[in-house]
Amino acid sequence: MSKLEKLTPEQEARMADYTAKWIAIGKDTNSLGLAETTEIIHNYQKLILKVNPTPVVIKNNPKEAWAFIQKHTNSDESFVFPYQDGSFSAHIFAFYDFFFTEGLAKVNSELEEKFNAWAETSKLGLIYHLDDICIVTKKPKKIITDAKGRLHCEDGMALEYEGWGFYSLNGVTVPEYLVMTPAEELSMEFFKKETNADVKAEFVRKYGVERMLDLGKKIDTYENYDQEEQPWWWKSEYELWDMAVLFEGLEYQPYLKMKNQTTGIWHVEAVSPACRTLKDAIKERFGGKEMKIVAIA
């Protein structure tokens, strides 16, 4: 078979069909019963793992599966994501499906049979092959994404299994509080104590940067600096704000406000009270080194 140099416009156009097909499979929330699950696993064990079939058990969610594995193996090891993740591998199957189905890559019948056995696992949840047993989780009963395909749900868990799940906003895993509390009831106490930059940015996005900074006082702004000398200070719209009002007993507590150059969302992060100007604050962010920003993403 000759090397594939490029796709025809028709082939490229059909890629969208494969994408849609496999996204639907990846997001399908119907879980198979034990008999069908066992058949898929046994076929995989026979053709790919080349081991004798083992008993198969189904658990409601990854947490339950891991608890079972810990007990079964008498281990207290922390959670490990399996090498086979069923429907979550839909993107990988989509790649091969396109080239095989379009006749762009040919494999012998043995390999084709193995691929089909592997692709069948996309009907399952996470799969843990142990020597004497295979543990399979049910698929999530709910997967909510935004238009960009990121986990995102504003009124509940974004990914939910029977008995376990997590909350996400714009692809960032966040505490339940940030999702389930209406924006007008969010407390700045949460923001002050949160240590994760992405979670804080999601707080700012939901709370509203203007509403938040209205509590404080602007100390310095990018507009006070030469745009040619510090173009990225201007692009990021760096500002220094005193948010001491949030902290009882503090006279001055500066925060740096800046815009994410890729997403356009705002980050508001604390700098030390030694920072009286934007220049001080940015220098501190770089570990006390005076550096010129030449690119940001």
Binding site: G171, T262, F286, A297
Partner: protein
């Protein structure tokens, strides 16, 4: 890039540096090296490994010596665009943020 220039890729800082004598070369690094990991999203900041791109580590600090262009990017591109890194010797670091409760500077984490 000039000395004292810095590229910001999220919380990750990238700047020209000298390779410390004590730095050890990283082997079997695969297709990319994580230069700043993401605790929450798994959206690590990574640099692509190409012929002519070698990575080193000294303590917790990673370095890169490259004779060809490579790029720093995120596993999931939507959070931060990729930035091209011209050939050079680079050091990777983290921006700092202040914790008003402990009055200490910490690495920015996501």
């Amino acid at each position: 890039m000039k000395p004292n220039d810095v590229i910001l890729h999220g919380e990750c800082t990238v700047f020209l540096s000298a390779l410390p004598k004590s730095a050890k070369k990283l082997t079997n690094v695969g297709t990319h090296v994580i230069v700043a990991d993401s605790e929450t999203t798994g959206n690590h900041h990574v640099v692509d490994v190409l012929d002519g791109v070698d990575f080193y580590q000294d303590g917790e600090t990673k370095y890169m010596v490259s004779t060809v262009e490579t790029q720093i990017r995120c596993v999931l591109a939507e959070r931060h665009d990729a930035i091209v890194l011209p050939p050079g010797t680079y050091e990777f670091g983290f921006q700092q943020e202040y914790d008003p409760f402990t009055a200490r500077l910490n690495k920015v984490r996501d």
